[in-house]
């Protein structure tokens, strides 16, 4: 026993080492791709920005000075290397538009986004999995079909449209909930509903189809024929079998929710990183766009690694390759 555990630990360790190295490669590729965006941008960013700041067309000297100041006169790879060197030290560059450092802006806003996404996922898990259990238990009844129809609707409703309808009902007509901003638990309710509805539905569908699938397996049928109750069959065979796909889905949805905040934060004026990112995109603030893409990539890769760790913990049979 002890020996086999040692071997497994070694394999697990090598697996994570490889995954981590691969993640670093992905991060480098993504950040490089986003860095090269500046070179395919139409128009010279230096000219545009000085124009925006001073309100008149810049002289060549001004452009040259700006380029030297931001290091834009060096070759691409040198620029990228310099950027990377600073990024590793926590300096993500500064906004062309406002001059503030990206890292300090992100530090203020990241918590807000994380709060929104975490609450959304908790709500999705609390509502999605039990409703899936319910649908599976009452398979092919009216309740099951009703939940199916609801979840199909939930996936199809555009979140920004739902946001408008909810704001209209709860903020404008009933005046129960604030329509935008941050500050209290009440501010969370509408964004969480908009962001979470589709996730509830997806968790619901997967839970139901997983359990129904296990119940149709021959070994479960034979166990049931020998007198195993349905409840015990679920606990012994159902839950262990659906655990891995559900955890996979939760991590996928978590990434999706972070991407979803980009629109939802804009609807509800929620001061998170999505709001900041769109603002940068609107003003074509390239240093911020670059830094944010790299940051998002880092967040998603961290999520993938966490998912891998979760698999090893919940499923002893997992193949590490």
């Amino acid at each position: 026993m002890g020996v086999s555990y040692l071997i497994k630990d070694k394999i697990v360790f090598r697996f994570f080492l490889r995954r981590t190295l691969w993640s670093i490669v992905v991060l480098l590729v993504v950040s490089f791709m986003s860095y090269t965006l500046i070179f395919i941008a139409p128009g010279d960013p230096a000219t545009i920005l000085i124009g925006k700041q001073t309100g008149r067309f810049p002289t060549p000297e001004q452009v040259a000075q700006f380029r030297t100041e931001y290091g834009l006169d060096k070759p691409l790879l040198v620029q990228y290397y310099n950027w990377l060197k600073q990024a590793v030290q926590g300096y993500l560059g500064q906004s062309f538009r406002t001059g503030t450092s990206v890292a300090s802006e992100v530090r203020v806003r990241f918590g807000n986004t994380l709060l929104l996404v975490t609450v959304t996922m908790l709500v999705a898990i609390i509502l999605g999995i039990p409703s899936g259990l319910l649908a599976a238990w009452f398979k092919d009844t009216f309740l099951d079909r009703f939940i199916h129809a609801l979840s199909m609707l939930a996936v199809a409703i555009p979140d920004f449209w739902l946001a408008f309808l909810l704001i209209l009902l709860f903020s404008i007509v009933l005046r129960w909930l604030p329509s935008h901003g941050i500050g209290s638990a009440k501010h969370l309710i509408l964004p969480v509903i908009c962001l979470g509805l589709a996730n509830i539905a997806r968790l619901n569908r997967l839970t139901r189809s997983g359990l129904v699938g296990v119940e149709g397996e021959k070994y479960v049928l034979s166990a049931r024929a020998k007198g195993l109750t349905r409840r015990t069959a679920w606990i012994k065979h159902g839950f262990p079998n659906i655990a891995v796909p559900i955890v996979t889905l939760i991590f996928t949805l978590f990434s999706g929710a972070i991407a979803g905040t980009i629109i939802i934060e804009n609807v509800f004026a929620w001061p998170g990183i999505g709001f900041y990112f769109v603002e940068a995109v609107n003003y074509r603030d390239l240093p911020v766009i670059q830094a944010m893409v790299a940051l998002y990539a880092a967040v998603f890769i961290a999520g993938n690694i966490l998912a891998d760790i979760a698999y090893v913990i919940i499923d002893p049979r997992i193949r590490l390759d």
Binding site: V25, V26, V29, V30, S34, L37, I38, I40, A41, P42, R145, H148, A149, M152, L153, V155, A156, I157, P158, F160, W161, L162, F164, L165, I167, L168, I172, V212, G213, G216, S255, G256, I258, A259, I262, I263, N266, F277, V278, A280, V281, N282, R284, D285, L286, I289, Q290, M292, V293, Y296, A297, F300, I301, N304
Partner: protein
């Protein structure tokens, strides 16, 4: 599906799916045909007739600038459907080429292609699309480019996995032994076998590409005004929500119908193509 009765049965058992599919097909047909035959100009303003309720003249009423909402929703649909068609065509071609190449050659090329796909799949497409639009500026072709570049990787992965599975199947091996060239096998055996699974994914994606277009339009980064677009129409509607729902409901419902209908279509196709695995 030899005779007609099972299909009728399917419709009865999947009423919700059937309604969704029918509505979406109706919306597609109306969007493609109505703007061509209607004499109303979707961008023509008439401030004297702004924010009107539905009437015989304006079936869905008018918006804050007095433009007819029905023709705007359908023209916007035309643009969205065209855009998503182009995006999906590019994704399909690019994905099939990369997937085939990776699956058939194997080795280093396979590794490189799939790692590239992994990079794209490691984070949501919306972010890369936004970054590209932020760099290139908004516009129809930039939107197409940004979405196509982020949408092909799942197709490459799907095609590769199918090719790998088929490559070792007996009939392909037999064809090879009989002297069929790689190109012949690809054309006669691999591509036809891919049509089914790829169609399921394509029909699922139609709705989501349309959602992405609307989302980008909503952020002001998609198709630019005065051309009507579902996302921008919703943004326009926000200040006038209290005064009436005629501006808020149609664009949102249109997106909803497209996603619902094409999701249902995808589920139905999947069930029809894989009757065994889905028989529960």
């Amino acid at each position: 599906m030899a005779n007609f009765t099972p299909r009728l049965l399917w419709i009865r058992h999947n009423l919700f799916h059937s309604i969704g599919i029918a509505l979406a097909l109706l919306l597609v047909a109306a969007s493609l045909i109505y703007p061509l035959v209607s004499p109303i100009d979707p961008t023509k303003q008439n401030l004297l007739a702004s924010l009107q309720n539905p009437s015989r003249e304006h079936l869905l009423g008018t918006d804050h600038l007095g433009r007819d909402i029905l023709i705007r929703v359908l023209t916007a649909g035309r643009v969205s459907i065209t855009a998503s068609f182009i995006v999906l065509c590019i994704s399909l071609i690019l994905g099939t080429v990369v997937g085939m190449l990776a699956g058939l050659t194997g080795g280093v090329i396979d590794e490189i292609c799939m790692r590239l796909v992994d990079v794209f799949l490691s984070f949501p497409s919306m972010i890369l699309a936004l970054a590209m639009i932020g760099t290139l500026g908004p516009g129809f072709w930039n939107l197409i480019l940004a979405l196509a570049i982020t949408w092909w990787p799942p197709y490459a992965r799907l095609v590769r996995s199918k090719v790998l599975a088929l490559k070792s199947s007996n009939y392909i091996i037999a064809a090879g032994i009989l002297g069929a060239s790689k190109l012949y096998i690809m054309r006669k055996h691999l591509l036809p076998a891919l049509i089914g699974p790829v169609t399921v994914l394509l029909s699922l994606d139609v709705g989501f590409v349309i959602l992405s277009i609307a989302g980008l339009g909503f952020l002001g980064l998609g198709i630019q005004p005065p051309a009507p677009e579902w996302g921008t129409m919703l943004v326009d509607a926000r200040p006038f929500m209290q005064l009436g729902l005629q501006m808020v409901l149609p664009p949102g419902l249109a997106i909803l119908i497209m996603i619902l209908g094409f999701n249902s279509l995808s589920e139905a196709l999947d069930e029809w193509l894989n009757p065994k695995t889905n028989a529960r």
